[in-house]
Every structure is written in structure tokens, then in C-alpha cells.
């Protein structure tokens, strides 16, 4: 469904989105528009619904009320629509979720070959290009289990990029990593942001948020409590919940 209102360059439009798990109301009246090239960081306490929200964007979760339009395609039950949206949206998970039975290169080429019907040679060329960008081309023929956590997460980012997505979703990409590996992953994400990728990142890496985010969103109890540019958000938080949260995570 094409829409033709003023916000033409919004690649994601979320309107009054509500979601329940059984009786439990996880997302309440979420409204969020994301412009092309915009970098959004989502933070908030555990259980506030951050993961659930970004998982709704590529329909890993379904919602019961409201509307969600990604890249001009409305998210409805139709399988074809879901697959069309998933082709535009890449996702990076907290636990990498690489396919352990496939080599790194196969992990990267699987989507391009089977979903986008590229030839194997083309897909491998693109995959090597992205492996070089995340600085681990020499690992192409290893299996995920042979790589460190940071390397695996960079592979996972490259795997998403191989599908040439318009939007990238990150769900706490560094929180399962040992401290010394966090920066290698963040570096890749910063580069990606600087190239103009539209990104929604759930993360508690506030340094990253300050450096690249156009907008920081704070969620609590299934609602968007506050959103602002990083300077204002960190320097002058409005809501008491935000203040409390920031004081807690910045305390150490």
C-alpha cells in the first residue's frame, strides 16, 4: 500500500501499535516514524518491550492493533507481504544466531542465493566484499563455532548486509560479548551508520548512542516515554523515569 502524505520519506511508520502476549499488554500505543537514513537508539529497562517492538518491524512478532508500514508496504497477514518486508529489513541478534552447520561464507550467501536467486559466484563475491568490510575475510571457510563472539557478531552483521537491506535492526548486539570484543562490533556499526544506513538499535552502549544516534528513544512498561536527540536526551532528560534510568546506567 503506497501512502502519499507529507512524510513521504519515512521508511517506517508505526501507528498506535498495540501488542499483547495473551493477557499481558506488552506494547501500548506505540507511534514512531523513522526517516530514511535516520539512526535511532532504543533503550530502557529490561522487560520494557524494546525487543518486542523491533521484532514487530520485521514481523518476527505479530501485533493485534494499529498499523505498521515499512518502506511503503503495510504489514498485514499476507505471507507475501511479510517476505517482501523481510527482504528490505536486516536483523542482528543478541546471540548472533549464525547457522552452525554452514561455513561463514555459506552463512552469508544462503539468503542471496535462495531468496534473491543470485548466482553462487555473484553471491560469494558480494559476501567476500562484506567480510572484508567487517575485517574478517580470512575466516570465510571456517565454521561459526570456531570464531570468537565478536567475530561471530560481525559475521552476523555481514550476513544481513549481503541481503542489501534498506533498514537494519539491532537487538542488543553487544550485550552477549566479552568486554574486549564490544568495540570491534561497535566500530562496524558506526561505519555503517556513517554510510547512511537506516538503523534502529536496541543498546545500552551510551557512547555509541551519543556518537551516531539522531534520536534516542526511552521505553518503559511497553510505552515510548521520551525521545530526543542525544544531546538533549542525555543532558536534559524530561521524564522522571528517564532520569532514574540514566542515573542507574551511568552510575557505573
Amino acid at each position: 500500500m503506497k501512502t502519499t502524505d507529507a512524510s513521504q520519506n519515512d521508511v517506517i511508520k508505526i501507528n498506535d501499535l498495540n501488542k499483547w502476549y495473551g493477557d499481558f499488554h506488552v506494547l501500548k500505543d506505540i507511534n514512531l516514524n523513522v526517516k530514511e537514513g535516520e539512526r535511532i537508539v532504543v533503550c530502557g529497562p529490561s522487560g520494557s518491550g524494546k525487543s518486542t517492538l523491533i521484532r514487530c518491524v520485521n514481523r518476527l512478532e505479530e501485533f493485534q492493533k494499529g498499523s505498521l508500514i515499512v518502506n511503503g508496504v503495510e504489514m498485514i497477514e499476507d505471507i507475501k507481504n511479510i517476505e517482501a518486508i523481510r527482504r528490505e529489513v536486516g536483523m542482528v541478534f543478541q546471540h548472533f544466531n549464525l547457522f552452525p552447520h554452514l561455513t561463514i561464507l555459506e552463512n552469508l550467501t544462503l539468503g542471496p542465493i535462495w531468496v534473491q536467486k543470485q548466482s553462487k559466484a555473484d553471491a560469494e563475491a558480494v559476501a567476500m566484499k562484506y567480510l572484508e568490510r567487517v575485517k574478517i575475510p580470512e575466516q570465510a571457510h571456517k565454521f561459526p563455532g570456531q570464531l570468537s563472539g565478536g567475530q561471530q557478531q560481525r559475521v552476523a552483521i555481514a550476513r544481513s548486509l549481503c541481503m542489501n537491506p534498506k533498514i537494519m535492526l539491532f537487538d542488543e548486539p553487544t550485550s552477549a560479548l566479552d568486554p574486549e570484543m564490544i568495540s570491534e562490533v561497535l566500530d562496524v556499526m558506526v561505519e555503517l551508520a556513517e554510510e547512511g544506513m537506516t538503523m534502529i538499535c536496541v543498546t545500552h552502549e551510551m557512547g555509541f548512542a551519543k556518537k551516531v544516534a539522531d534520536r534516542v528513544i526511552f521505553m518503559d512498561a511497553g510505552q515510548i516515554v521520551e525521545q530526543n536527540n542525544p544531546t538533549e536526551f542525555f543532558g536534559n532528560p524530561q521524564n522522571e523515569r528517564t532520569q532514574l534510568f540514566l542515573s542507574q546506567i551511568l552510575a557505573h
Partner: protein
């Protein structure tokens, strides 16, 4: 700066290695254990000499007829004279190469699947495996390719056990996978059909299934067609095995983390692609020991076919025992031999299963 010194490796203390320590640890670790060891050794000392004498020293090894069995011990002449039937049934003498060829193909494909590079395994070995039962059928039957036609009443012996078990698992593998997927499906119809099929074929004793196969299955075929008895048995074995395989796979599916599905979804793979490319290969890997165990069970169950008059190895042995030239009471030898052959096969398969299991356990996976 201080230098780091590597300490030399010292030999382990004598008490923990060597035969004396082994004896102490394994046979006499406690007084109860020691008592058990003594009792077992005493029983063995009483029985073993007689047994060995019967099995080997006083046994009759050479000859062609029962009259050669003059000594006290076992009459291995009996096994010797019937060995062809034990292995090949009544398949015509000049045509035995056909059975050997099919068996060789089976062994060949299994060997190939171990040594071939991963890339070609799915493209070459899997189709070969799936084609093998049908190629085997054509070669053994012979009518389609202009060889002497050998009707299935003549097929028999141990090779029939092997071929039936192999042909069954090859078809049951994809069918069981399909049922397992159906059982996990969100479509109520697919799910209920799968559950009914799986529970039926697992719940009914295999003997009852064989009887149903020979009596009831013909009712499902169009009027006037007669379907070969062996094919009916094959169908029953396939369905029976599929029920068990579906349950084995179900366990495997449960071992796959949710993140694998989500990652596959996020890439945009469809339902069948996701299952065929991501989920199922991992399911097979974690289920391998159970798959082999189930196959061992199926393989042993093929001996039940003697009940409905299929000349597999056990019924061949019984026929041999009632042959008028061999009425000397050789049943101990016959059943020992059949038991030994099956035991060797099943034990080697469980050894393979154990080694796969060990390999999987040391596999680093996330």
C-alpha cells in the same frame, strides 16, 4: 622482568596406572565388587571349558552332510552347508551377483557419504540414497532390464533382512521428516493427520502391522491388482519406521534453538527453505545416534517377517532345521549363528552411534 618457566611433565604415580591398578579399580574397588568378581570368575570357570569344548574343540567343522557330524560338539557342517540359503535365500545360483551388486552399491554409497566433500554430499549422495531402493528392486526383479526374472518368493536370507531394512529406512527418512514437520505445523488438519499416523504406527505392535499389511493393505489397492507380498511388507515397514523416525526427529527439532528459526525468518527464507536448509540439517546431526538406534530396532524386527512367510534369515534357518536330511537337532547351532550375525551387525552400528555421539559432544557449537 621475571622469566616464565615451564615445569617439566612428570609421569603419573604408579598407583593409578598399570595392570595392578586397573585390577584394583575395576574389579576390587569395594568388598562387594570384589565378591561379585570372585563369583563371576567361579561361574565362568565352571561353564567355560564345556562351552569352549562344544563350540570349538569337539565341534565338527568339515563335511557336506549330517553324517560328517560324528563328534560330540557343535555341528558347524550344518551352517556351512546351508550358508548360501542363510545369506541369499533361494535366489538362483547363477544370479547371485545381482544381490551382491545391490549390496555393493549400498556399501558404496555409505562409504561415499563419509568421504565425499560436504558440497557434493547433498547433491549426489542424497539422490543416490533415495533412488537405491528402486534401482535395487529393478536389478533384483530383473524383468525391466531383460535379466532373468526372479520372482520374490525366491528372495530371502540375510540379504533380504538387510535390503528390506535399508529400503525401508531410506523411504521412512523423508516421510518421517514430513510427519514430524506436520506434527509441529500450525495448521490443525496437517497436525492432526500427522499425530494420528505417528501414534498409530508407533502404538500398534509390529507383528499386528505385518498381519494387517498382508490382509488389509490389498483392500486399498484398486480391484484386480495384486501387489507383491514383499512390496506390501515394505510398505508396512516404511510406515512403521516413519512413525518412529518422526518421533526421533521431533526430539531433534526441540534441540534447535529458537534463534535459528528467527535468523532464517529474518533473512526471508520461506517455510520449506527454512526447514530444508537450516533446521533439518541440524536436526539430523543431533538425532544421528537415535536414528541409528531406531534403525537397529527396525533391522532386528525384520526377523518377525518369518511369521507371515517371508523367507528372511530366521525363517530360512527354521526351514533348514526341518529339512529331512538334517533332522539331527541342530537348532542350537542355527539360532546361535543367526543371533551372532545379527549381533555383529547391530553391535557395529551401535559402536558407530557411540562414536558419532562422542564427536557431536566435542563439537563446539553455539
Amino acid at each position: 622482568m621475571q622469566e616464565f618457566k615451564v615445569l617439566p611433565d612428570l609421569p603419573a604415580p604408579v598407583k593409578t596406572v598399570g595392570p595392578v591398578a586397573w585390577l584394583k579399580n575395576n574389579l576390587f574397588s569395594s568388598w562387594l565388587n570384589g565378591l561379585a568378581t570372585i563369583v563371576v570368575v567361579a561361574i565362568l570357570a565352571k561353564l567355560l571349558p564345556g562351552l569352549l569344548d562344544w563350540l570349538f574343540f569337539s565341534a565338527n567343522w568339515t563335511g557336506t552332510s549330517q553324517d560328517a557330524c560324528t563328534k560330540e560338539g557343535a555341528c558347524w557342517v550344518f551352517i556351512n552347508s546351508w550358508s548360501k540359503q542363510f545369506f541369499y535365500g533361494s535366489y538362483p545360483d547363477g544370479q547371485l551377483w545381482r544381490i551382491n551388486l545391490v549390496l555393493a552399491m549400498l556399501v558404496g554409497i555409505i562409504t561415499l557419504s563419509i568421504f565425499i566433500s560436504k558440497e557434493y554430499r547433498n547433491k549426489i549422495v542424497v539422490p543416490l540414497f533415495l533412488l537405491l531402493p528402486f534401482i535395487g528392486l529393478i536389478i533384483l526383479d530383473g524383468s525391466l532390464i531383460g535379466l532373468q526374472v526372479v520372482s520374490t518368493d525366491l528372495w530371502g536370507g540375510f540379504t533380504l533382512n538387510v535390503l528390506l531394512a535399508a529400503a525401508s529406512i531410506i523411504v521412512a527418512f523423508p516421510l518421517g521428516a514430513l510427519w514430524a514437520l506436520g506434527r509441529r505445523s500450525e495448521m490443525p488438519l496437517a497436525r492432526s493427520i500427522s499425530i494420528i499416523l505417528i501414534e498409530f504406527f508407533r502404538g500398534v505392535p509390529v507383528l499386528a502391522l505385518f498381519f494387517m499389511g498382508s490382509v488389509m493393505l490389498p483392500l486399498f489397492f484398486p480391484e484386480g491388482t495384486t501387489v507383491d507380498k514383499l512390496v506390501r511388507v515394505w510398505i508396512v515397514l516404511v510406515l512403521f519406521m516413519s512413525g518412529y523416525m518422526a518421533e526421533v526427529f521431533r526430539g531433534g527439532f526441540q534441540a534447535i534453538p529458537k534463534g535459528q528459526y528467527e535468523a532464517a525468518d529474518a533473512i526471508g527464507l520461506g517455510y520449506w527453505q527454512k526447514n530444508a536448509l537450516i533446521i533439518f540439517p541440524q536436526v539430523i546431526k543431533v538425532s544421528m545416534p537415535n536414528i541409528l538406534a531406531t534403525f537397529v530396532m527396525l533391522f532386528k524386527n525384520t526377523t518377525f517377517l518369518l511369521i507371515i512367510g517371508i523367507f528372511e534369515m530366521l525363517s530360512t534357518a527354521q526351514t533348514a532345521l526341518t529339512n529331512s536330511n538334517w533332522l539331527g537337532g541342530h537348532s542350537t547351532e542355527a539360532y546361535l549363528f543367526v543371533g551372532l550375525v545379527f549381533w555383529v551387525c547391530c553391535y557395529s552400528m551401535s559402536l558407530i552411534a557411540t562414536s558419532i555421539e562422542r564427536k557431536l559432544n566435542t563439537d563446539h557449537r553455539n
